[in-house]
């Protein structure tokens, strides 16, 4: 393509849309062709890039026009300067816009990061709780099995009511054992759940102390300030 001083003119050029409409010939049998997906992805990239170029070209074209007018004005004897007050404003708008986009990106990144951290915390908590539940069920099941065994043994040894002092003592022994057994397991369980609780609240506290001190924001703004904020998208009270 030859360069021309009229590169901005309306001659027929490749447009972003024409790139998207491009088709490729089918591969022949038995021969490897390009895979379609990467080609499409590449075309998407090219499309995005061309959109950017077109926008840049438009603003450069405006700039060229502006400078041309200045120069022509000077040639015609007007007291023209290359950068006037209007240009300073245009540049300021450009700079402020760029700064705003940077700020937007930072906020979006920070928000995405905090979202990930909270999500991870939530998942970790779910894991801990699931494990605790599993463990508790295991302890209970074990206690149940042992108690069942103890009962079976007591029953099989003598199905009749205790006949004498010796047998009564034996049954009382079994009972005492079972009582102790349940007490011990209850205690185990309590210690276990307490430690889980402690762990969770420690974790919670740590999370809180890790937060940076919050700056004091002032809600009172000058009464002459204007907020042309368009209606926040209200979650429709859909009927």
């Amino acid at each position: 393509m030859t360069t021309s001083d009229a590169w901005y003119d309306q001659e027929e050029r490749m447009t972003p849309d024409s790139l998207l409409a491009v088709t490729f010939p089918l591969t022949r049998w038995g021969r490897n062709g390009y895979e379609e997906e990467p080609v499409r992805a590449f075309l998407n990239d090219v499309h995005g890039e061309l959109v950017r170029l077109v926008n840049e070209r438009a603003s450069l074209w405006q700039e060229v026009q502006r400078l041309r007018r200045r120069i022509l004005g000077r040639e015609n004897g007007h007291d023209a300067v290359l950068f006037g007050k209007d240009d300073a404003h245009a540049h300021a708008v450009q700079m402020l816009s760029n700064a705003q986009l940077t700020a937007d990106r930072y906020v979006a990144d920070a928000q995405a990061y905090s979202g990930r951290v909270t999500e991870e915390a939530r998942n970790r908590r779910d894991e801990i709780l699931a494990q605790a539940q599993q463990h508790a069920e295991m302890l209970l099941e074990e206690a149940r099995t042992q108690a069942r065994q103890a009962a079976v043994e007591a029953m099989s040894r003598d199905a009749l009511p205790p006949q004498n002092a010796q047998e009564r003592r034996a049954v009382e022994g079994e009972l005492a054992y079972l009582r102790t057994f349940t007490d011990v397991y209850r205690q185990h369980l309590r210690i276990y759940t307490d430690s889980i609780q402690r762990m969770l609240s420690d974790w919670d506290n740590k999370e809180r102390t890790m937060l940076p001190p919050r700056p004091v924001a002032d809600l009172d703004v000058p009464s002459n300030a204007w907020t042309p904020q368009i209606a926040q998208s209200r979650p429709d009270p859909a009927e």
Partner: protein, 371 residues
């Protein structure tokens, strides 16, 4: 005013996409730096709001009735941001400068005159609506968080005292702005019927990465100030109906329904009320103790908790829609549903499908994506 010319001009300007609102706000902030304070740090969502409003206005510029209703709401809505009649001129000037910038050679004196008169019309409708509203209520209410109670891992109940007292109907919600997130407003339902002391409860669910919900639920929120917008929302108790009531609350969707429940409790002859309260896990049934207490006091109230993602849960399990549908016939009930969109719409559709007349089904759909 040449409507076709305006629409054509706007279509050409809109081709520049995000550049247009970006340019507008930069122009406005440079010419009136004091306006920057009232916007959030990130302007990404704000630019979308502006473009949406412009699209709405231009699309309806020849349907004045619809446009006027939209603009009157917009004008009232802008009071809480601090918009005053005097500021409309500044915005108009920056908007015109922006349109001119993106119109290039197509900008003519006639087009400039069209846009000027269109903006003057828009501004006058918004200003008039705001002025009328001024006679009725303040622009915003200042609130102080007087109690913070963490009810579940990700649900916190805030109690707020306002100045002056905020009058509202049970079921309504207000826009809330945290002192730590200036310029960001999110809607929350008031979770109680009006009280003598005027205190307001809010059930705040922590959304992962949600700017406002994270600020409101942080441990240090006690004593902090918030700003509240005027009460809005169409969900309210049909007091003229003699029908029994079915309340279906998903997670913090409980808030508006609890306010309605408290309102019912004050009625002389309360109807029979079934309240289904659902969450993913038992931990998410954050207000169940208080609801059970109410049910114990009021024989007309039945509370049915349901959990969708824990098959070991001792009570009802499954989605709220499933649990509600298998628990009875609700064709003769007034139904109030609030919670996450999917749950709200599924439950409403299935109730309607089973014969509950649509005009007996009242919804509050919590957007929830971004809080």
């Amino acid at each position: 005013m040449d409507v076709a010319r305006l629409k054509e001009s706007f279509a050409r300007i809109a081709m520049h996409g995000d550049e247009v609102p970006l340019h507008f706000y930069a122009d406005l902030f440079l010419k009136h730096p004091e306006t920057r304070n009232m916007f959030p740090v990130s302007m990404e969502a704000q630019r979308g709001h502006l473009v949406n409003a412009l699209v709405q206005i231009v699309a309806n510029v020849d349907r004045l009735d619809e446009l006027t209703a939209f603009l009157r709401d917009l004008g009232r809505d802008h009071r809480k941001f601090g918009a005053l009649a005097g500021h409309y001129g500044a915005v108009g000037a920056s908007l015109l400068a922006t349109f001119q910038h993106f119109s290039g050679d197509a900008w003519t004196p006639e087009l400039a005159a069209d846009w000027t008169s269109a903006y003057e019309l828009v501004a006058s409708v918004m200003i008039d609506a705001a002025r009328e509203d001024e006679k009725r209520s303040p622009a915003y209410w200042t609130g102080t968080i007087v109690s913070v109670e963490r009810k579940a891992f990700d649900v916190t109940v805030l109690t707020v005292q306002t100045e002056p007292r905020l009058e509202y109907l049970p079921g309504q919600s207000v826009a809330v702005q945290s002192a730590h997130r200036p310029g960001l407003w999110r809607y929350y339902s008031i979770a109680n019927a009006p009280r003598l002391d005027g205190l307001l409860d809010f059930h705040v669910k922590l959304i992962d990465g949600g700017a406002v919900s994270m600020a409101l639920t942080a441990g240090s929120a006690l004593g902090e100030r918030v700003r509240l917008g005027p009460p809005v929302g169409a969900l309210r108790l049909d007091t003229s109906s003699r029908r029994d009531v079915l309340l279906v609350a998903g997670s913090t969707g409980l808030a508006p329904l609890k306010a309605i429940l408290e309102q019912i409790a004050c009625l002389h002859l309360p109807p029979q009320v079934h309240l289904f309260f659902g969450a993913r896990e038992a931990d998410g049934l954050y207000d169940l103790p208080a609801l059970d207490k109410m049910a114990a006091q009021h024989p007309w109230l039945t509370v049915i908790p349901a959990v969708s993602a824990d098959r070991f849960y001792g009570g009802e399990t499954g989605t709220l829609a499933d649990v509600v549908m298998r628990s009875g016939a609700w064709t003769g009930h007034d139904v109030y549903i609030a919670g996450p969109s999917e749950m709200v719409h599924e439950t409403a559709a299935r109730l309607a499908g089973a014969g509950t007349p649509p005009d007996q089904i009242h919804l509050e759909d919590f957007g929830w994506r971004d809080r």
